[in-house]
Amino acid sequence: MKKKIGIIGLGNPLRADDGIGLVLLRYLQDYKKTLSKEIDFIDGGTSGMNLVHLLENYDSVFLLDAVDFKGTSGELRKFTVEEVKNQKIQWFLSTHEPDFLSVFTILQQLGKIPIQVIIFGVQPKDISYKVGFSEEINTALPHLQKKILKEIQSMII
C-alpha cells in the first residue's frame, strides 16, 4: 500500500560534508511526534538507481542531500523537480548511475511518480574522505536543523 510521506536522507558520512543529509534526517526523526504519523524516515545513503524503488512508494517525498549549487558553504536551497528540469540542472546521484531526472523518467514509465518531490540541498565545503563536517557546516548546522524542521512542518500541515 502506498504510504503518504517519505523523508529520505542521502549522502556518504565517510565524505565529510556529504553526510549532511543523513544528519538532518536524524534530527527530523527526533521531532517525529511533532510532524505526522504517516512519515517514513529513510537513510538512503548512496542510493543512486535504488532511489527509483524508494520514491515509488510515496505520494510526497522530501530529499535531503549535499548539493553543489555554487552557493555559500552551509547555505540551504529548496528545489522542486520542475525547477530542476527548467534550470537544466544535472544532479547526479552517484557517478555510477544516472542523474535525478533519469530516475524520474523511469518512474514515469512505471506510472509511479510521487505527487510532490522537494529537494533540500545544502552547499558543502569539503567532500574529501574523512569523518566529520567542515567548520562552515558545523557552524551552520543548528540553523540548518531549525530551518529544515520549520520548512517541513509548514509543508506537511
Partner: protein
C-alpha cells in the same frame, strides 16, 4: 595502415568513479595505451584505526553504495576471526541470503543499466525506453526484488544494519521469507526472458580473448560466495586465507591513484567470470543452462563475457536463495542473540566474494577491542592491471577500425569489468547548463 589519431576518454561514463583511457597512434604505430585511475585516494584503513570493533562494520558498510553488504560481511568475518567467534548455522544461512541479494542487486544494475545500452546501441538505459520498454521494465522489476530482499534480510536496501558481529540483530519473519520465495520463483522466469533478450544482441560482445589468471574463492560445499578458500586458475587452492598477500600482491604505478595487483603473471582478473572459471560445475542447473545458451564454458578468456557470467550468477543466486529459504523455514527461525567473543584481542581476516570479485578485510584488535591496524583489498584494484593488459592486446587487433568504434570497444572493455573506482563517491556535482 599509416594513420595518426588519439583517443582520450576522460571520466568514462557508466562506471563508478573516475577513470581515463588514453590511446595515441602515430603513422599507424601505437605509441601509448593507458588505463589510468584518477580518483583521489580514499584512506578507509585510516578511518578504521582507533575504532572499537563494534564500529568497524557500520563504517565499512558506507565504503560503497553497491557492495555495502559485502563490506559488512567481510568486516564481521574479520572481527569474528580475530575474537574467536563461531557463528551459528542459521546466521551462516541468512548471511548467504544477504550475499545473494547483493549480487542480484549489483549484477542486474550492471547488466541492465550499464551494459545493455551498449548492446542495444543506445546511449543510456533511458534511450532504450520506447523501443525496448518491456526489457527495461523487467530489469526494474528484478532490481526491485533484489532491493526488497536486501531490506528484508539486512534491514535496509543498502548500508545494512542487521548484520552484526556474531550474528543478526533482527530476523525476518517466516511468513515474509515464504512470500519472498514466491517472488524468487517468478523472478527466475523473468531472468530466463532477460537471458533470451540479451542473447539476441550478444553478437555485439567483441570476440576477444587473452589468457590470464583468475582468482576467487572456491569451496567443496558450494559455488563459493560467502565462504571458501582463495584459489587461482593457475595455481589452485592457496593453503591459507590469512596469507592472502602471497596471492594478492598489490603495487603502485605512477599513472594511477589506485593500487594495482598481480600474482603469478603480470595481472589477474576477479569477479563473476573468475568465479565462473573456478567453480562453474557447482552452479545450479538452471544457471548452467543459461551459460550454455551463450556457449560460456570454463575456462573462458574473454573479459567481455564477464557480463554474461553475471547473468548466469544472477540465476544461480535466485535458485540458491529458494533452497536456503526452504531450509531456514523448515528448521524454523530462532531468535538467536549474537554470539559473544571468546578472545579480547587478535588479528582476523575476512574474505568474501562481492559482485566485482574477492574482497578482503584484515584487522588487528588490541586487548580493549580497538582496531590498531586495518587492510582492505578491494576487487576493482585487483582488476586494473588486467584491464591494461587487455587493452594492450586488443588495440592492435582493432587498430584498422574507425576511431569511434575503437573508442566504444575500449569503453565497453572497461565497463565489462564493472569497475567501482571510487567505491563510495556520492557527492552531487550540479552544473547549470
Amino acid at each position: 595502415m599509416s594513420k595518426d589519431f588519439s583517443i582520450h576518454v576522460e571520466h568514462l561514463t557508466r562506471v563508478e568513479g573516475h577513470g581515463n583511457i588514453t590511446l595515441d597512434v602515430k603513422k599507424g604505430k601505437i605509441e601509448k595505451i593507458q588505463w589510468s585511475v584518477v580518483e583521489a585516494p580514499r584512506f578507509f584503513e585510516a578511518m578504521l584505526r582507533g575504532q572499537h570493533y563494534n564500529e568497524l562494520r557500520p563504517i565499512t558498510s558506507r565504503i560503497c553504495g553497491i557492495c555495502s553488504i559485502g563490506h559488512s560481511l567481510a568486516s564481521v568475518k574479520a572481527t569474528e576471526d580475530a575474537l574467536g567467534v563461531k557463528i551459528t548455522s542459521q546466521t551462516a544461512a541468512l548471511r548467504r541470503l544477504a550475499i545473494h541479494a547483493e549480487n542480484m542487486q549489483s549484477h542486474i544494475l550492471h547488466i541492465g543499466y550499464l551494459v545493455a545500452p551498449d548492446l542495444f546501441g543506445a546511449g543510456s538505459v533511458f534511450s532504450m525506453l520506447g523501443k525496448h520498454t518491456d526489457t527495461v521494465l523487467k530489469i526494474v522489476k528484478l532490481h526491485r526484488l533484489a532491493n526488497e530482499m536486501s531490506d528484508l534480510i539486512c534491514g535496509r536496501t543498502i548500508h545494512p544494519i542487521r548484520l552484526v558481529v556474531g550474528g543478526f540483530s533482527m530476523y525476518p519473519a517466516e511468513k515474509q521469507l515464504i512470500q519472498l520465495k514466491k517472488r524468487l520463483i517468478e523472478a527466475q522466469e523473468l531472468t530466463k526472458d532477460l537471458a533470451s533478450v540479451i542473447l539476441s544482441v550478444a553478437d555485439r560482445l567483441p570476440a576477444f580473448t587473452r589468457e590470464t589468471e583468475y582468482i576467487g574463492l572456491t569451496s567443496d560445499e558450494e559455488y563459493a560466495l560467502y565462504d571458501g578458500d582463495i584459489a587461482s586458475t593457475d595455481t589452485g587452492r592457496h593453503p591459507s586465507n590469512r596469507e592472502y598477500k602471497e596471492v594478492m600482491q598489490e603495487y603502485l604505478v605512477p599513472h594511477s591513484t589506485a593500487k594495482y595487483a598481480k600474482h603469478t603473471r603480470e595481472s589477474y582478473m576477479v569477479g563473476a567470470l573468475a568465479r565462473f572459471n573456478l567453480n562453474s560445475k557447482q552452479l545450479h542447473p538452471i544457471a548452467q543452462e543459461i551459460a550454455s545458451l551463450f556457449k560460456l564454458k570454463a575456462i573462458n578468456y574473454n573479459p567481455f563475457m564477464n557480463t554474461i557470467a553475471q547473468l548466469v550468477e544472477f540465476s544461480h543466486n535466485v535458485e540458491d536463495s529458494i533452497s536456503l529459504i526452504d531450509t531456514i523455514v523448515e528448521l524454523g527461525i530462532k531468535q538467536e542473540k549474537p554470539v559473544k567473543p571468546v578472545k579480547k584481542a587478535g588479528r582476523g581476516v575476512g574474505v568474501v566474494e562481492v559482485p566485482r570479485g574477492i574482497l578482503v578485510h584484515d584487522y588487528t584488535l588490541n586487548s580493549q577491542g580497538y582496531c590498531t591496524k586495518a587492510n582492505c583489498i578491494i576487487p576493482t584494484n585487483q582488476n586494473h592491471a588486467n584491464i591494461q593488459k587487455d587493452m594492450e592486446k586488443l588495440v592492435p587487433e582493432i587498430i584498422n577500425r574507425p576511431e569511434k568504434e575503437i573508442e566504444l570497444t575500449l569503453e565497453m572493455l572497461v565497463r565489462a569489468y564493472d569497475p567501482c573506482i571510487s567505491c563510495s563517491t556520492h557527492y552531487l556535482d550540479v552544473s547549470f547548463l
